[in-house]
C-alpha cells in the first residue's frame, strides 16, 4: 500500500512537472526522488512516470487522441496504439534510468 501511495505521489509530481516544465521533468524528478528516498526502488519511479503520462493523455479529448494514436502508430509502422505504448514506455524508461543512475551516489 505504501509503495502504491509512493507511486501515486510520484505520478502526481511528474504530471505537474511535465505540465509546467516539460518532458525533462520526468528524469529530474525521478533522480531527485531517488536521492531523497534511497529505499525506493527505481521501478517505482518508472511506474509513476508512465502513470503520470498516461493520466495526462487521458485528460486530452479522447476521440481525437484515439484517431491521432492510430495515424501516428501507422506513420511509425507500429501496431495500432503502439505510439501510446511507446510514449508511456519512454517516460518509464527515462524515470527508471535516471533513478537507477543516481542510486549509488546516495549510497556514497
Amino acid at each position: 500500500m505504501a509503495r502504491l501511495l509512493e507511486a501515486l505521489a510520484l505520478a502526481v509530481l511528474m504530471g505537474l512537472g511535465t505540465t509546467f516544465g516539460g518532458w525533462w521533468a520526468v528524469p529530474a524528478i525521478a533522480a531527485a526522488w531517488q536521492l531523497l528516498r534511497p529505499a525506493c526502488p527505481a521501478w517505482l519511479a518508472a511506474l509513476g512516470a508512465s502513470a503520470a503520462w498516461g493520466g495526462l493523455l487521458a485528460l486530452q479529448p479522447w476521440l481525437p487522441v484515439v484517431r491521432l494514436a492510430a495515424r501516428l502508430s501507422a506513420v511509425f509502422h507500429l501496431p495500432p496504439g503502439g505510439v501510446v505504448v511507446v510514449a508511456l514506455g519512454y517516460a518509464g524508461l527515462l524515470a527508471w534510468s535516471a533513478a537507477r543512475l543516481v542510486r549509488p551516489l546516495r549510497a556514497q
Binding site: T19, G22, W23, L63, P64, L68, L94, R100, L101, R103
Partner: protein, 823 residues
C-alpha cells in the same frame, strides 16, 4: 563488475540514449522528448482537432470585427463589413484549418520545397524555377501599384494568414510540422501568385512540343500529324453545332515510316506477360473536368440547373476549402477556394452559379534558339542580331539554410531558355509567364447578378484558360472558353518553332468576340468535358491539338438529350454515371475480331466473358476489368511503333478517338506488329491478341472470373494521398464507380479524380449540393479530416447550408470565431 554496478552502467547508457534521442533528431524520427510529451508534444494535435465552441483572435489591418460561424459541416460563414476584411478573415480561417497545405502550395509554385522538405525535392524545384514561374510571380507583384485593388487583396489575405501564424503557440503547431521538426514560414503577398503559377503549371503546361518532335522523328510528319491531330476525329463540341449526335470525322491514317510489311500469316495468340501499369491521368482521361447546365425549359421544376466536377490530383487535405463570404449589401458568395487564393473560385451567389472545366488549349510554344555557346550561352540570335540573355542566379537551400545548388537561369525575350540535350537550347513562351493578375476578376464576378454580367466580369481572365459555365436565376445559361489564346504565324502551334527569326513570334491574341462561346442555345443545355471547344467546321482556327477524346462529352450529351425533365438529383446521378460510350465503340470491335478465329479456345472464353458485360463500371461489376485490360493491351500492341526499347511508352499515346479512326481501316499498317517481321497483323488479329492477353492477365492478377476478384471495386480504387505522401495520413483503397472515359473517371493508381462535385438549382431561392473527397480540417486527428469521403465515394452530395443573415448562421452554428482589429 558487480551486478549492481552493471545495472547502474546499463541505466547510464540507457539514460544517455534516451536524452540524446530527446534532444537531437535520430534519422527521420523527431526529437522524442518534446514529441512524446503528453502536454506539449504531438498530443497537442488532438487538442486542436475539433473547433472550439467559441474563439477569438485579432488581425492587423482589420477595419471592423468579423464574425465567423462554422456550420455542421465545418464550413465557415464569414460576415464582414468590407471585402478586404472578408479576405483577411478568409486568410485567417484557411490558415487555421490548412496551414501546411498553404505552405506546401506556395513553395511548390516558388520552387522552394527543399527549404522545408530537404534535398529530395531539388529536381522538382529546379523544374519550376527553370520554367520561370517564380520569376513571373515576383515580377507580377512588382507590377502592381501599392494601392491597386489586386495588391490590396493580396496584402489583406497575407494579414489574415500571418495573424494566425503569429498566434501559434507551441501547442498549436500542425502535426506535419512536428514530424518534420519545422515551424510555419510567414506568408508573403506574392505567395498567392506562386499558387496561381502552380495552377497554371497543373492545368496549362504540357510537353506536347517535345513529344511531337520526337514522334515526328520516329514515324514521320504525316503520321505524326494524324496521330496527334489538330482537330478531334470525333466532334461533340461544347459550343453546340446543331447536330443531335456526335460526328465521326474518320480519315485514313498514313502509315508510320519504316513500318514492316510482311505477308499475311498465322497470328500468334500467346499471351504476353503482365505489363507494368502506370498512373497516366491523360491515358485514363482522369485529369480533366465535367460541367453542364440545363435551361429551365428542360428541367422538372422550371429552374436552371448547373453541375460541375473538377478532376484533379486527389490529396489530403483536399485541394478545395469550402467557405461563405458575406459583406452587407455588396457580397454574398458561397463556394470553394484553393487555400492561398484570395477568394472563391467556383460557387454561386444569390443569383448566379458558375463552374469550370479546363480548356486544354495550346498556350505554350517552344523555340529552337541559336546561341553563342552550346554549354554556357550568353547570347542568342534573332533576325541576324545577337541579343544578350538575361541571366539570373538561383540558390537552392536546405532546411538549415545551406546551399544545395547554385544554378543559372537564362531568359530570351520569349521566356526561359533550357537545354534540351546535345547542345540544343529551347526557349519557352507561355501565357502563364506573362499574363496580368486576374484577382479582381473573381472579385467582380462574385457580385454579378446575371450570367452575362458574370461573363463580362471575367472578360479579361487569362490563365489557366477555362471553359466557364454560368447560369442565373432568370434562366440564362452560358459557356465561354475564357483565357488568353495566342495567334500564331503557323498552322500548328504544337511543333518546335525556329527561334532565329522574329517571324515565328506570336501575332497577338484571340479577340474576346472570337472565343468559343454559347448563350442560351436552342438545345436547352450546355456541356463541356475538355473536348475540342468548337467544331472546326464552324471555326477552323488553331486553338490546340491532341484533344482529350470526347467520350465524357458524348455521355453527358446522351444523358441530357434523353432527359427533358432534369432534376437536381438526376444531375447528381449523372456525375457518377457508370456508362462508357467508348465501350459502345470498342466492345463490338472485339466481338467482330473474335468471330474471325472461332477455333481459338482462350479467345472464345474471353469473348464470352466480355459479352456478359453491361458496359457499365458499377462497383459490383465483374466484367469491366476484362474490357479495361483489353483496351490497355490493345494500346500496347497497336502503338508498338511508339515504344522505346524494353516496351515502355516513349511517346505520347494517341487517344482512343484516333483508334476509332483505325477501327474503320482493318488493314492499316499501324495495326501491324513491328516486332514480327514475317507476319502482317491486321486489326482483328491485334484485337483478338489483346483480348486473350487481357484475359490471361486478369486471371493472373485477380483469379478466376467468378471468384470475387474481378469485382470492379476491388480492381479500381481511389487513393487519396496525403500531401507529403505519408500513407498513414492518407485515405487509400476507396471504392469508386466509374472507369476510363466515364463521367466519374478513375486513373490506374487512383490518384486522380473528381475533386469537387457541385449541383446548383437557380430557383427563387438558390439551392445547392456539393462534396469533395476529404474534409475541411487538415488535422489528421480531426473528425473533419476525411468525413466527406464516404459520401463522395457513394456519389452522394451534401446539402449546402447558405444562411442569408448572421442570425440564421448563428442559429445553426457549431462553433463561433470573433475576429477583431489588432490594437
Amino acid at each position: 563488475m558487480t551486478g549492481g554496478r552493471r545495472v547502474t552502467t546499463l541505466a547510464g547508457l540507457l539514460l544517455s540514449l534516451l536524452l540524446s534521442a530527446s534532444v537531437w533528431r535520430v534519422g527521420p524520427l523527431p526529437r522524442l522528448g518534446g514529441f512524446l510529451d503528453p502536454v506539449h508534444g504531438v498530443w497537442t494535435v488532438a487538442r486542436q482537432a475539433e473547433l472550439p465552441d467559441r474563439a477569438a483572435a485579432t488581425i492587423p489591418g482589420l477595419g471592423a470585427g468579423v464574425t465567423v460561424h462554422y456550420d455542421h459541416r465545418a464550413v465557415p460563414h464569414l460576415f464582414a463589413a468590407s471585402e478586404l476584411d472578408a479576405i483577411r478573415a478568409l486568410g485567417y480561417v484557411v490558415a487555421r484549418d490548412r496551414l501546411l497545405q498553404l505552405e506546401l502550395q506556395w513553395r511548390a509554385g516558388a520552387g522552394r520545397l527543399t527549404e522545408l522538405l530537404g534535398p529530395g525535392l531539388l529536381d522538382t524545384d529546379r523544374e519550376i524555377r527553370r520554367l520561370g514561374l517564380p520569376d513571373a510571380a515576383e515580377s507580377r507583384l512588382r507590377s502592381l501599384p501599392p494601392d491597386s485593388p489586386s495588391r490590396r487583396l493580396l496584402v489583406a489575405f497575407a494579414d489574415g494568414v500571418n495573424a494566425r501564424i503569429r498566434e501559434l503557440g507551441p501547442g498549436d503547431i500542425p502535426l506535419e510540422y512536428l514530424l518534420l521538426d519545422r515551424r510555419p514560414a510567414p506568408w508573403e503577398p506574392v505567395n498567392s501568385l506562386h499558387l496561381l503559377g502552380r495552377m497554371g503549371w497543373t492545368l496549362a503546361y504540357n510537353r506536347l512540343e517535345e513529344l511531337q518532335q520526337r514522334a515526328r522523328a520516329r514515324i514521320g510528319p504525316a503520321a505524326a500529324d494524324a496521330l496527334y491531330p489538330v482537330h478531334s476525329p470525333i466532334q461533340e463540341p461544347l459550343v453546340p453545332n446543331g447536330q443531335s449526335a456526335p460526328r465521326y470525322d474518320m480519315a485514313p491514317l498514313p502509315p508510320p515510316q519504316g513500318g514492316d510489311s510482311g505477308p499475311a500469316g498465322p497470328p500468334d495468340f500467346a499471351a504476353p506477360p503482365t505489363a507494368a501499369r502506370g498512373d497516366n491521368p491523360r491515358f485514363f482521361d482522369a485529369l480533366g473536368s465535367n460541367n453542364w447546365a440545363v435551361a429551365p425549359g428542360r428541367t422538372a421544376a422550371g429552374h436552371a440547373l448547373l453541375a460541375g466536377d473538377q478532376h484533379l490530383e486527389l490529396n489530403l487535405p483536399s485541394i478545395w476549402y469550402e467557405v461563405h463570404l458575406v459583406v452587407a449589401d455588396s457580397l454574398d458568395v458561397y463556394g470553394v477556394t484553393i487555400p492561398g487564393a484570395v477568394g472563391i473560385i467556383i460557387g454561386f451567389n444569390r443569383d448566379v452559379a458558375w463552374t469550370f472545366t479546363n480548356t486544354e488549349a495550346d498556350v505554350l510554344d517552344r523555340y529552337s534558339e541559336v546561341v553563342d555557346d552550346s554549354v554556357h550561352p550568353r547570347q542568342y540570335r534573332v533576325d541576324g542580331v545577337w541579343h544578350a540573355l538575361r541571366l539570373e542566379e538561383q540558390r537552392y537551400l536546405d532546411p538549415a539554410g545551406r546551399a544545395l545548388l547554385v544554378d543559372t537561369l537564362r531568359f530570351t525575350h520569349r521566356g526561359p531558355l533550357t537545354e534540351a540535350g546535345t547542345g540544343r537550347w529551347l526557349s519557352t513562351r507561355w501565357t502563364a509567364l506573362e499574363s496580368a493578375t486576374q484577382l479582381t476578376a473573381f472579385s467582380r464576378a462574385a457580385r454579378a447578378r446575371t450570367a452575362q454580367g458574370w461573363l463580362d466580369s471575367m472578360a479579361n481572365y487569362q490563365v489557366p484558360a477555362q471553359n466557364m459555365l454560368v447560369a442565373d436565376r432568370a434562366g440564362t445559361i452560358a459557356i465561354r472558353s475564357t483565357g488568353r489564346f495566342p495567334l500564331r504565324p503557323v498552322v500548328r502551334g504544337d511543333l518546335v518553332q525556329r527561334g532565329d527569326t522574329s517571324a515565328a513570334d506570336w501575332l497577338g491574341d484571340w479577340p474576346p468576340g472570337a472565343l468559343p462561346q454559347s448563350l442560351n442555345p436552342v438545345q436547352g443545355y450546355l456541356a463541356s468535358a475538355n473536348q475540342e471547344p468548337i467544331d472546326p467546321r464552324v471555326n477552323p482556327r488553331y486553338l490546340g491539338a491532341n484533344w482529350y477524346s470526347p467520350w465524357r462529352a458524348i455521355r453527358i450529351n446522351q444523358l441530357l438529350r434523353a432527359d427533358s425533365l432534369v432534376t437536381p438529383d438526376a444531375m447528381r446521378r449523372y456525375q457518377t454515371d457508370p456508362g462508357s460510350p467508348a465501350a459502345d465503340v470498342f466492345v463490338p470491335a472485339f466481338f467482330r475480331a473474335a468471330r474471325r478465329f472461332p477455333a481459338r479456345d482462350s479467345l472464345q472464353v474471353a469473348v464470352r466473358l466480355l459479352a456478359q458485360w453491361d458496359r457499365r463500371y458499377t462497383r459490383d461489376n465483374t466484367r469491366a476489368v476484362l474490357y479495361e485490360e483489353a483496351i490497355r493491351q490493345m494500346q500496347r500492341l497497336l502503338w508498338d511503333e511508339l515504344s522505346a526499347a524494353g516496351g515502355s511508352q516513349a511517346l505520347d499515346t494517341p487517344g482512343l478517338a484516333v483508334v476509332t479512326e483505325l477501327l474503320q481501316d482493318p488493314s492499316n499498317p499501324w495495326w501491324d506488329n513491328g516486332g514480327t517481321r514475317d507476319v502482317f497483323e491486321d486489326r482483328d488479329v491485334i484485337l483478338a491478341q489483346a483480348l486473350v492477353a487481357a484475359y490471361t492477365t486478369v486471371v493472373h492478377d485477380h483469379g478466376a472470373p467468378d471468384a470475387g476478384g474481378w469485382r470492379w471495386e476491388k480492381v479500381r480504387q481511389a487513393n487519396i494521398l496525403h500531401m507529403l505522401h505519408i500513407p498513414a495520413l492518407s485515405a487509400l483503397g476507396i471504392p469508386v464507380q466509374g472507369g476510363q472515359s466515364t463521367l466519374n473517371p478513375s486513373s490506374g493508381l487512383g490518384g486522380f479524380g473528381p475533386s469537387w462535385r457541385m449541383v446548383v438549382e437557380l430557383g427563387p431561392e438558390i439551392r445547392a449540393w456539393g462534396v469533395y473527397p476529404g474534409g475541411q480540417s487538415g488535422n489528421p486527428a480531426s473528425s473533419r479530416y476525411v468525413d466527406r469521403i464516404r459520401a463522395w465515394s457513394n456519389g452522394e452530395l451534401d446539402t449546402l447550408f447558405v444562411p442569408g443573415t448572421v442570425a440564421a448562421a448563428q442559429a445553426r452554428a457549431r462553433s463561433e470565431l470573433d475576429l477583431t482589429p489588432a490594437r
